[in-house]
Symmetry: C2
Subunit: 599 residues, 2 copies
C-alpha cells in the first residue's frame, strides 16, 4: 500500500486481504459483474496488480466465462457478484464446474446477517446456495479489525483456493457479508494503524498458509495385477474419455501411447480426452472413428479406462456388452461409469497408473509384440473404412449440395491451425466432432461443457477458454445454444477475445430427429424441434461481430479465410435438420455395412 | 382419452396423470423448454385441452415468464424442463417467487435414480436443488402401473398445487424421474387396461383430493386493541407496501381507504401496493409523493402496515425513526420489516384485519373526524408541493432539453391506458415510479420483481404478466436489465404478447451515481457504471420488434402513439446517467426546501 491510500475501513480491509491472499496463492483472474454490495471485493480485485479482471453484465455468462478460463488452464478463476439472484445466476456454471471438475472460486457478496429473512431489499438466503455442487462452502465472518478474524480470513482464503484443486477439483463458495461503508471511504478508528502489517500477511513471499497436497499415485505393487491383466489379455483396450482440466494440464499423451503399443491395445481417444489430437497420434495406435464401428469391432477382454464416460454412446454400449475386466482410473474415486460394468476402480492419477504399469511391464519377460496383431488389425481396417467413407460422403455431398453438419465438424478439426482451442457445443456438435473428427498430428485442445451437457453457456465458456490461451479459438455451436447464451457474445468486445464462431443453424433442435419423439407430431415440431426463425446477423450486429452466411460447400474456404483475419467472425451455415440427420444415418449404415463385411 | 390413443407406457401414464390432476386442480398454464428427458411431461401437457402451453428456449427466461404470469393472476403457473443445468436456470426466478410469494409449480424431469452420481450424461443432483427457496420439495416415485403409486402421484400433484397457495404462496418443486421409452410408444403389458380408469381419477369432477384451506383471519376480539390504538392516535398512518399477488387479487382498496378516512390517517401507497392507482384514490386520503418528503413529514405515533417493506428508502427510514406503535400485518407472519421497529405482528390476511378493525370502530362511540385535521393537512401540503414541483421541472426540462428518467416514469403512469399492466424494472425505474408516479383514478396494475430486486428476468416477467391480462402492457426498463434478459424478448413472437417497451438507455448502471462509489474512479466507470455502447435497434431487429429512438421531449407523444398500435414497440430514450442523476437531486432539494418552509 502506498502512503496516499486512505486507511481502510473494515469492508475495505476484508476486500483487500482477500484479494491479496488469493493473489499470493496464485489466483490470476476474476470475473466481476457490477453491483453495490460487492463493492469492497470489486474495488480490491480491480486495484490488485496481479489479478486480471474480466467485467461482465450478466452473471450467468460471467460464471460460464470463468468456467471456460479455468477449464482451459486448469487453474482456478474467481467470480464476484452482488447479493440476491445474481448469485443464483452462477448456479448452472457451478454445476458444470462440479461435474467437470473445473476449479472455480465463487465470492458472493451478502448483506449483514441481521438483515437476512427480514424483508430487506435484495437479500436472499445465500447459505449453501449451490447445495452439494461445491467442494466447500464457508461464510466469512463480519469485517472487523480483529486479529483472529483476519488470520481466519487469510486462512479461509488459502483453504478455499486449495479446495478448488484437490484430487477432485471443483467449485468453492465463500459468502461474504459486508456492511456500509462499502466503498473505500475512511472510517476513523475502525481499523487501527497496526493492521497495515496484518494486511501484508506474514511479511514473507507467498500465501499466509502454504498448502501442499500429496498426489494420489498408484504404488508399484498395486499396479502389478493391472499390468498382468493387460499383458495377458487377448484383446486389450485403452479408452480415454473426456479429460478433466487437471488431466489436460498434466497428462503426457506419449506415455499412454507407449503403453498402448507395449500391450498391443488400441487406444480409443474421445475428442475431449486430450489424446485424439497431437504429435503422439502420428504413429501410435490412436483411434477416433469408433463411434461408427464400436458395435461390430469393440469386443475387448481387458479394458483400461480413464477420464469421464465417453461421449460415444455406441462405445459405451459396446463396453457395457463386453465380457471384460474393466479397470476404471479415477483419482477422485468417483465411479463415473453409468453402465456399471467396471470391475476394478483405481483411485489414482491416470499418469501414475500409466507409469506404474509401464514399470511393471518393463520387469515382465513377456514378448507381447505381435500377439495382438489380429485384434489391432480389426481396428485398423474399420478405421480406414470409416474415414474413407466419410471423405467420400463429403466429396459427394459437396457436389450434390446435400451436406450435413458432420462434414463441417470434419473440416473444422482437419483445417484448424496448430495450435488452436476448439470449443464444441453440446447436442450435435460434440457428437459430430466425436464421429467425424479424425486424429491428427496437431496441438488441438478440444473442449466442451460435458460435465452436465447443458447448452446454456456455450459462447461464454468458449470465450473464457479463448481468453486464457494465446492461440486461435474456434467455437462450433448450434442455433439453440447460440441463442441461449447470446449475452455471452458481449465478452468478445468487453474481454477482448477473438474467435471464429461456426454457427450450425438448422432452426431448432436438430438432435430431436435422433429420438423417437420425431414420430409424434404434434407435439414434435412445436415443443421439441421448436423452429424459431431467428436471423442471427442482427445478433452479430448488436455485438459488433462480422457475420457471414456460408453455403455448406463453401464452408471450408470461408473458415480458412476467417482464421487468417483478426476480429470475430460468425460463419453461419444453414442446414435442414431432417435432411442432415438422414445423411448422417445413411453414412452410418454404409460404414456399418462395410465394417461388417470385413469382419 | 379417445380410443385411437395408444395405451400408455409407464412414463406416459405418469405424464398424463400429472397433467390431468393439475388441470383438475385448476392449473391453467405451463411454460415448457424443449428437452428429451421431459418428453412425458411435455407431451401430456401439450395435448391437454385445458392447459395453455408457452414454449421457451431459455429456461431462465421461461421461469421468469411463468413468474410474471403467476404474479399477474395470483394463480400458479407450472414450469417444465429437462434434466441437468436446465433446472438450475430456473433458480433466479424460483428465488424471486419465494420472496415475492408468487405461486409456481416447478416440474423438473430427471434420469432414473440409479444413474445419479454415476457419471451418466446430463445427470446432476436435482434433489432439493432450490434449497429452502421452495415451500415443498418432493421426488416422484418411478413410473409404474401400481395402484398405490398412482394414488400417491395424484395426491402429490394435488398437494403440490395447494402448497403453492397457502398463507405464504410460493414455489413448489417436484422432481420427476423417467426411464425410456419417454415418448408415447406402446410397451405392451406395462400398463394394464384397468389403469385407464385410474387415469380418470375418482370418476368425478374436480381433483383427486379437494384441498380447502382455512383462511387466516383476525378475530374481532384481537382487533380491538388495534382499533383502540388507531382511534386514539394523534398521528395515525397506514402504509401499504408492495402487495403479494394474492393481495392484488383479493384485497378491496375501498375498504382500506374507508379505514383511513375513519381514523384520519394518511394512506401511503407504494406504487406496487395495488392502492396507488384505482377509482378509490379519487377522494380518499391516498398519498404517493412521500418518497420526496417523508423525512420532514412522516412522524406518526401509530402505524398500520401491510404488504412488503416499502420501496421508498426515505419512508423506511422515517418509520424507523418514528417513536410509534407499529402494527405489521402479514398473513404468513414472516416479519418483513428490516428496520426492526414493528411493535405488533398481526398474522392474518390484511383484508380481515381491515374488516375487523372497521367493525370494532363501528361499535366505538368516538368522534374522530376532525381530530387529525392538522396531521392530514401536512401531507396534503407536502403532496401539493411535490407534484407541483415535479410538473414544473418537467415543463422546464422539456424546454431546456435536460430531462431525466423520472419525467418519463411520470408520463408512463399519467398517460397509461385504463386499464393497463405496467411492469417496472428494478434499479431506477421502480424508484422513479415510486417518487414520480402520481396517484390516479385508473386501474393500473403496477408490478416489479421486488422480492429479490434482481434485474435478471425483466422482459420475461413482464411478458408473462402481459400474457395473462387482456389489457395493454407497458414495460419500463433500463439498458442493463434490457440486455440481461434480452433472450426473453423471444416471447413477444413465440407467446404472442404485445407490449410497449420503454427503454431508458443511459449506457450502463446509472444507479451507481446514487452511491458513494461514484467518487472513486477507477474503478467506478469500468466496474460499476460499466458503459457498454450497445445499440439496441439490432436487438429489436433480431426479435422482430419495432424500434424507435425517442428524444426525452418527444417521449409522451411517441408513447401514446405506441399504445394505439398493435405489435411491440421499443421506445428508446437516451439519457446521460450523471446529468439525469443531478436533475433528480436538484428536484429533491427543491421539494425538500419547500416542504420544510411549510412545516
Amino acid at each position: 500500500m502506498t502512503d496516499s491510500t486512505p486507511s481502510p475501513n473494515p469492508a475495505t480491509l476484508w476486500g483487500r486481504t482477500l484479494a491479496d491472499e488469493l493473489a499470493a496463492g496464485g489466483l490470476e483472474a476474476v470475473c466481476i459483474a457490477p453491483g453495490s454490495r460487492s463493492t469492497p471485493l470489486t474495488v480490491a480485485f480491480a486495484e490488485h496488480p496481479e489479478i486480471d479482471v474480466y467485467s461482465h453484465l450478466d452473471e450467468r455468462s460471467s460464471a460460464f466465462f470463468a468456467l471456460g478460463r479455468a477449464r482451459r488452464t486448469g487453474e482456478p478463476t474467481a467470480l464476484i457478484c452482488t447479493s440476491g439472484t445474481a448469485a443464483a445466476n452462477f448456479h448452472p456454471a457451478v454445476i458444470e464446474a462440479n461435474q467437470a471438475r473445473v476449479p472455480l472460486l465463487v465470492l458472493t457478496a451478502d448483506r449483514p446477517p441481521e438483515l437476512r429473512d427480514s424483508g430487506a431489499n435484495q437479500t436472499i438466503d445465500q447459505t449453501k446456495l449451490y447445495g452439494d455442487a461445491v467442494r466447500w462452502f464457508a461464510e466469512l465472518p463480519e469485517p472487523e479489525a480483529d486479529e483472529r478474524k483476519v488470520r481466519s480470513l487469510r486462512t479461509t482464503a488459502a483453504r478455499a483456493l486449495a479446495e478448488t484443486g484437490g484430487p477432485e477439483p471443483g467449485p468453492v463458495h465463500l459468502n461474504c457479508p459486508f456492511r456500509k461503508p462499502l466503498e473505500p471511504t475512511e472510517l476513523p478508528g475502525s481499523v487501527p494503524e497496526s493492521f497495515a502489517e496484518t494486511l501484508a500477511g506474514r511479511g514473507r513471499e507467498g500465501p499466509f498458509v502454504d498448502v501442499d497436497r500429496g498426489d494420489v499415485t498408484l504404488e508399484l505393487e498395486r499396479a502389478r495385477p493391472v499390468a498382468d491383466a493387460l499383458a495377458n489379455a487377448d484383446r486389450p483396450l485403452i479408452v480415454a474419455g473426456p479429460a478433466d482440466p487437471a488431466d489436460l494440464r498434466d497428462f503426457e499423451p506419449d506415455r499412454a501411447v507407449e503403453l498402448a503399443e507395449r500391450i498391443g491395445a488400441p487406444l480409443l481417444a474421445d475428442p475431449l480426452s486430450g489424446l485424439r489430437f497431437g504429435p503422439h497420434v502420428e504413429d501410435g495406435p490412436v483411434y477416433g472413428g469408433y463411434d461408427a464401428y464400436a458395435d461390430a469391432v469393440v469386443d475387448p477382454d481387458v479394458v483400461l479406462r480413464f477420464g469421464a464416460s465417453p461421449t460415444s454412446k455406441p462405445l459405451r454400449h459396446a463396453l457395457r456388452d463386453a465380457d471384460a475386466r474393466q479397470f476404471l482410473i479415477d483419482p477422485a474415486g468417483a465411479w463415473r461409469e453409468a453402465t456399471f460394468t467396471a470391475t476394478d476402480l483405481l483411485a489414482a492419477r491416470p499418469e501414475s497408473v500409466v507409469e506404474a504399469v509401464l514399470e511393471v511391464l518393463d520387469g515382465l519377460e513377456t514378448d507381447e509384440n505381435g500377439t495382438n496383431d489380429a485384434w489391432r488389425s480389426r481396428f485398423d481396417a474399420a478405421e480406414r473404412r470409416h474415414w474413407k467413407l466419410r471423405d467420400d460422403a463429403r466429396t459427394r455431398d459437396a457436389l450434390a449440395e446435400t451436406p450435413f453438419e458432420g462434414a463441417v465438424l470434419a473440416s473444422v478439426l482437419e483445417r484448424a491451425p496448430d495450435p488452436a482451442t476448439i470449443f464444441v457445443s453440446n447436442s450435435m456438435p460434440v457428437r459430430d466432432a466425436d464421429r467425424f473428427g479424425k486424429p491428427r498430428d496437431a496441438d488441438l485442445t478440444v473442449l466442451s461443457n460435458r460435465g452436465a451437457s447443458g447448452i446454456d453457456g456455450i459462447a461464454s465458456t468458449a470465450l473464457g477458454a479463448g481468453s486464457a490461451a494465446d492461440e486461435p479459438l474456434v467455437v462450433v455451436t448450434g442455433d439453440l445454444a447460440f441463442y441461449h447464451d447470446s449475452n455471452g457474445l458481449l465478452a468478445v468486445d468487453r474481454c477482448d477475445v477473438d474467435a471464429t464462431i461456426v454457427l450450425l443453424d438448422n432452426d431448432g433442435g436438430g438432435i430431436f430427429h435422433k429420438l423417437p419423439i420425431e414420430e409424434f407430431d404434434p407435439p414434435f415440431t412445436d415443443q421439441f424441434k421448436t423452429p424459431h426463425g431467428l436471423e442471427f446477423d442482427a445478433l452479430a450486429d448488436l455485438y459488433g461481430l462480422e457475420f457471414e452466411s456460408v453455403s455448406p460447400g463453401g464452408f471450408a474456404d470461408a473458415y480458412e479465410r476467417s482464421l487468417e483475419r483478426t476480429g470475430t467472425q460468425v460463419l453461419s451455415v444453414s442446414f435442414d435438420a431432417e435432411t442432415s440427420h438422414r445423411r448422417r444415418e445413411e453414412l452410418a449404415r454404409r460404414v456399418s455395412n462395410a465394417v461388417e463385411r470385413d469382419e
